[in-house]
C-alpha cells in the first residue's frame, strides 16, 4: 500500500494517540502504531491493552489497502524533525518494509505484521447503552474532577472518575477519601439509569483530545468497556470493575456555619502561609472569629511560622479547623468563581466548598475536604 500525507498533520495525530503507549509494556507489539488504510482513510491505533486510542485521517492520494504495525518511537522522533512537507509512505506488506520518502530523503523502517496487534474490545450489543454528550460538558466534567482521584492500589474503584447517568442529570464524582468533587450537569440526561467508573488514564487522555472537539461525543458502554467516539478520534477503554462507595451519604447536609470569601485572595494567602507549614503534614489552621479568617501554619522542627488575616463574611460560631494546605489549594484552583462559600459544622466534619455564584445554571459543583485532626 502507498499513501501521501502531510508531515505536520500526521505528527499531531500520532502525538495525540501516542500518549496511550505505556513505558512498561508487557507485549512488545504495543510499542507500535497500527496503521491501516482502506478507501482513502488512514486509521492509526495505539493501545496499552486497557485503553485504545484510534484516530483517522482522510487522505487524497492513496493506493491499495492493508495494515501494518510501525515502531512508535522511531516514527514520531523522525517526524518531529520535519517541517511541513508531504511524505510518501510506501509499505510492502509482505516484507514489512516501510519506506518514507520526502522531497530529498528516504527513510526505511521495519514494521511488524498488523494482525499481531491486539483487537479493540467491542461493546457487547445486549448490554450496550448509548448516549450523546456535548464535548465541552464531558471535558469540564473530567477536568473538574480528575485532580481528586486517588492513587490507591488497594482500592482501584477510587482511581477513576465515577460517571452516573440518570433521567434528570449526569454526575461526575472523584474522591481519594480525603477530598471529593461532585460535578452535576442537568443538561445531559440519559433515558435509563446507568453508571460506570472511568479510570484515570483514559480520563486524562480524553481531557487532552476533547478541547479540539466541536461536535457531540458519542458514548457507548457495557459492563466492561466504554467507547467515546469523536469526529477524528475514538477511545475504547476498560472500565474499573466494582462498586463506587456511596458518596452521597458522606456529604454532610447540615452545615450551619458559612464563610464567603474572595477565592483568589484566599488561594494566595494559603500559598504563602503553607510555605511555613510542616512539609510532611502541610497542616494549615483556619480560625474564624467574627468576619475575620486567620490562616496560620507552623513547622516546629525549623521554628518557622506564618499567619495571615483575611476579611470574609462569616455566619456561625467561632471555630478553628485544620486542613491539608495542598488539598485546599488544589480545590480552590479548580473553582473558577470570584467568591467561594465554605460550609462547615465542626472541626471533625468535612468542609464543603461551593462557588458563591453560579456561572452556568446547568452546572452544580460541590467540593468537599476532610479536615485534619487538631487538638482544640
Amino acid at each position: 500500500m502507498k499513501f501521501v500525507v502531510s508531515s505536520m498533520e500526521l505528527l499531531s495525530h500520532l502525538q495525540a494517540v501516542s500518549r496511550v503507549i505505556s513505558n512498561k509494556n508487557t507485549l512488545p507489539i504495543l510499542d507500535n502504531f497500527l496503521f491501516s488504510l482502506e478507501d482513502g482513510v488512514l486509521e492509526i491505533t495505539a493501545s496499552d491493552l486497557e485503553s485504545t486510542l484510534i484516530t483517522t485521517l482522510d487522505l487524497e492520494n492513496t493506493d491499495g489497502s492493508g495494515e501494518i504495525a510501525i515502531p512508535a518511537r522511531i516514527l514520531t522522533d523522525t517526524l518531529k524533525e520535519f517541517s511541513e512537507l508531504p511524505l510518501t509512505f510506501e509499505i510492502d506488506t509482505n516484507s514489512m518494509m516501510v519506506v518514507i520518502q520526502s522531497e530529498s530523503g528516504k527513510f526505511t523502517i521495519m514494521g511488524q505484521n498488523g494482525s499481531e496487534f491486539p483487537q479493540v474490545p467491542q461493546i457487547k450489543d445486549d448490554q450496550r447503552q448509548e448516549l450523546e454528550i456535548d464535548g465541552e460538558v464531558l471535558l469540564s466534567g473530567i477536568a473538574k474532577t480528575i485532580f481528586a482521584t486517588a492513587d490507591d492500589e488497594l482500592r482501584p474503584v477510587m482511581n477513576g472518575v465515577f460517571i452516573e447517568l440518570s433521567s434528570d442529570d449526569t454526575t461526575f464524582v472523584a474522591s481519594d477519601a480525603h477530598k471529593l468533587v461532585r460535578y452535576k450537569r442537568t443538561d445531559v440526561t440519559s433515558e435509563s439509569e446507568a453508571a460506570f467508573i472511568l479510570p484515570k488514564k483514559p480520563a486524562s487522555l480524553l481531557k487532552n483530545i476533547l478541547p479540539k472537539e466541536e461536535n457531540m461525543v458519542k458514548l457507548e458502554f457495557d459492563d466492561r468497556n466504554a467507547a467515546f467516539t469523536l469526529t477524528h478520534y475514538k477511545m475504547v477503554c476498560r472500565l474499573v470493575e466494582g462498586n463506587y462507595p456511596s458518596y452521597n451519604s458522606v456529604i454532610p447536609t447540615d452545615n450551619p456555619f458559612k464563610m464567603t470569601i474572595d477565592r483568589v485572595e484566599f488561594y494566595n494567602a494559603l500559598r504563602r502561609v503553607s510555605v511555613f507549614s510542616n512539609q510532611a503534614s502541610n497542616l494549615v489552621k483556619l480560625a474564624l472569629t467574627g468576619n475575620q479568617l486567620t490562616v496560620s501554619a507552623q513547622d516546629i522542627d525549623f521554628s518557622i511560622s506564618g499567619t495571615e488575616r483575611l476579611n470574609c463574611q462569616y455566619e456561625g460560631d467561632d471555630m478553628e479547623i485544620g486542613f491539608k494546605s495542598t488539598f485546599l489549594i488544589e480545590i480552590l484552583a479548580n473553582l473558577t468563581t470570584s467568591d467561594v462559600v465554605v460550609e462547615m459544622s465542626d472541626p471533625t466534619r468535612a468542609g464543603i466548598l461551593l462557588p458563591a455564584t453560579s456561572e452556568d445554571e446547568n452546572e452544580d459543583i460541590l467540593m468537599l475536604l476532610m479536615p485534619m485532626m487538631i487538638n482544640a
Binding site: 462507595p245 503534614s281 497542616l283 491539608k324 471533625t348 466534619r349 476532610m370 485534619m372 485532626m373 487538638n375
Partner: protein, 418 residues
C-alpha cells in the same frame, strides 16, 4: 580545626538521686530495679559493684551476689526532674550541647581555650553542677565524642580528666578494647579470640581486615580505636521510633491475655503519638520465646496515629509471628517511620463521633494521666494482675511498666536511632 568535646556523665545517677532523697542509703550497697526476680538491674552503687553486681544483670542474680543490698524500685519522675536540672545548668553555660541519655551530655566547647582554658571551664561547670544539684558527675575532655566518653569512664568516680590531642594514642593504647562504646559482648569475644585485647593492638590491625571481619562496623571500630570520630555534637535529634515491651513475671501462652496486653501497649503509644503530634508509618511486633529466641515482624502502613488502625495491625502481626506453641517471655511493639503531623481524616472511614471520642479521651488523659481512660481489655488485665500479686500495694502492672520505663530510658541511647 581541632575540637574540644566534653562528655559529662552523672555517676550512678539513679542511686545518687535516691541518696539525695534518703541519706540512709549513703555508703551502703544500693540496687535500683524491679522487685521481682525477672527484672533487671537499672543501676547500682559502687558499693554493690564490689560484689560483682552490674547493670542489666537479672535481679535474682544481683540479690544472690549481694544479699545485704538495699533494693529500691526507682522513681522515674524524680530522675527525669534531676536530669532536667543538670541539663538546664549545662544549657545555660555551654554553647552547644547534646543530651545523649538521661545521665549523659556531650558539650562542644571548641575555641573556649582562648578565653578560659577548656579544662578550667569544664572543671568549674562540674563543680557548679555538684554544688547546685548535689549529684556527683564525671567528665572527659578530648578531641571527639568517642575519646571523651572513654576518658569519662577512666575519670570515674567523681572526677575529670583531659586527654589533649597529642596524647590520645598514648591514652587509648593500654586500655581494654571493651572501653570502645561500640564493642559489645559478641565483638569483644571475637576480637579476644584473635588475641586482641588492648586498643593498641586493635590499632595495628589493618582497616581492611577489620572491614572484612565485621563489615562496615569494623571500619568504624577501627577508626574509634585510632581516636577518629567526626560525629558532631547535635543539640537536638529527632526521635525516629517509639515502643514498649514487657517481660512477664511468668512465661505465658495465654494468647488472649497477650493480645490484651498488646492492645493496652498500642493504646498508650498511640496516645503518645497524638500528644506529640506525630504519625507512624511502620509497626513492629516483637516476641521472645522462653528459650530466648526473639522474633520480630513489621508492616508498613499509611501514616496514622489512630488506635482503630494500629490495634488490628498489631494483633494481626502477633498472629503471624506467634507460630510455635512455646511459652512467651517477652512481648513488645514499636512504631517507627515517625513524622510530625496530625491525622488527615478519611471521608469514608472516620466518623465525626469517633474523632470526637479520640479528642475527648486524649483530653482526659492529658489531665488525669495516660491511664485515665483505657480499653476494657486492659482493665481486665490489670485486675487479674492485681489478684496475682495482692501482697504488693502497687499493682504488678504499674511496677512492670515502671521497670520497663527504667529499661527504656537506660536503653534510649541504643533504642532511639538518630
Amino acid at each position: 580545626m581541632e575540637r574540644s568535646i566534653v562528655h559529662m556523665d552523672l555517676d550512678t545517677f539513679f542511686v545518687s538521686v535516691e541518696r539525695l532523697q534518703n541519706s540512709k542509703l549513703t555508703g551502703r550497697p544500693v540496687i535500683i530495679g524491679g522487685a521481682s526476680d525477672r527484672g533487671v538491674v537499672a543501676s547500682c552503687s559502687y558499693e554493690a559493684r564490689r560484689f560483682g553486681v552490674h547493670s542489666a544483670m537479672p535481679m535474682k542474680m544481683a540479690r544472690a551476689l549481694c544479699s545485704e543490698a538495699v533494693i529500691v524500685r526507682g522513681d522515674m519522675d524524680s530522675y527525669s526532674r534531676y536530669s532536667k536540672l543538670v541539663t538546664e545548668i549545662i544549657a545555660e553555660k555551654a554553647p552547644v550541647y547534646e543530651k545523649a541519655s538521661i545521665d549523659e551530655h556531650y558539650l562542644d566547647i571548641s575555641g573556649m581555650d582562648r578565653f578560659f582554658g577548656c579544662m578550667q571551664w569544664t572543671g568549674e561547670l562540674r563543680e557548679r553542677i555538684i554544688r547546685e544539684t548535689g549529684l556527683p558527675i564525671s567528665f572527659g575532655l578530648s578531641v571527639n565524642k568517642t575519646v571523651s566518653k572513654i576518658a569519662t569512664g577512666e575519670a570515674k568516680p567523681n572526677g575529670g580528666i583531659e586527654v589533649p590531642h597529642p596524647t590520645v594514642p598514648g591514652f587509648l593504647s593500654p586500655l581494654s578494647i571493651r572501653k570502645i562504646p561500640m564493642i559489645g559482648n559478641k565483638t569483644y569475644h571475637l576480637l579476644r579470640s584473635m588475641g586482641i585485647s588492648s586498643i593498641g593492638t586493635l590499632r595495628m590491625i589493618p582497616a581492611e581486615m577489620m572491614e572484612g571481619l565485621l563489615g562496615k562496623n569494623g571500619t568504624v571500630i577501627w577508626k574509634k580505636a585510632n581516636g577518629i570520630d567526626p560525629t558532631p555534637v547535635m543539640q537536638y535529634s529527632e526521635r525516629k521510633s517509639i515502643g514498649a515491651e514487657r517481660t512477664f513475671d511468668r512465661d505465658t501462652m495465654d494468647v488472649n491475655g497477650l493480645k490484651d496486653l498488646l492492645v493496652s501497649m498500642v493504646e498508650k503509644l498511640t496516645f503518645q503519638l497524638r500528644k506529640e503530634e506525630k504519625l507512624t508509618s511502620c509497626i513492629t511486633v516483637k516476641i521472645r520465646y522462653s528459650n530466648f529466641d526473639t522474633h520480630t515482624l513489621q508492616q508498613r502502613i499509611g501514616y496514622t496515629s489512630f488506635d482503630h488502625v494500629l490495634i488490628p495491625a498489631a494483633k494481626e502481626l502477633f498472629d503471624r509471628i506467634y507460630q510455635r506453641r512455646m511459652l512467651i517471655r517477652l512481648i513488645g511493639v514499636r512504631f517507627s517511620g515517625l513524622i510530625r503531623g496530625v491525622q488527615q481524616l478519611n471521608l469514608f472511614e472516620d466518623t465525626s463521633e469517633m474523632v470526637r471520642l479520640y479528642l475527648t479521651m486524649d483530653t482526659l488523659r492529658k489531665r488525669f494521666g495516660s491511664g485515665a481512660v483505657r480499653r476494657a481489655s486492659g482493665i481486665q488485665l490489670r485486675e487479674l494482675e492485681e489478684k496475682a500479686s495482692h501482697e504488693d500495694k502497687e499493682s504488678e502492672e504499674d511496677a512492670a511498666a515502671r521497670r520497663q520505663q527504667v529499661d527504656n530510658l537506660k536503653n534510649r541511647r541504643w533504642g532511639y536511632w538518630r
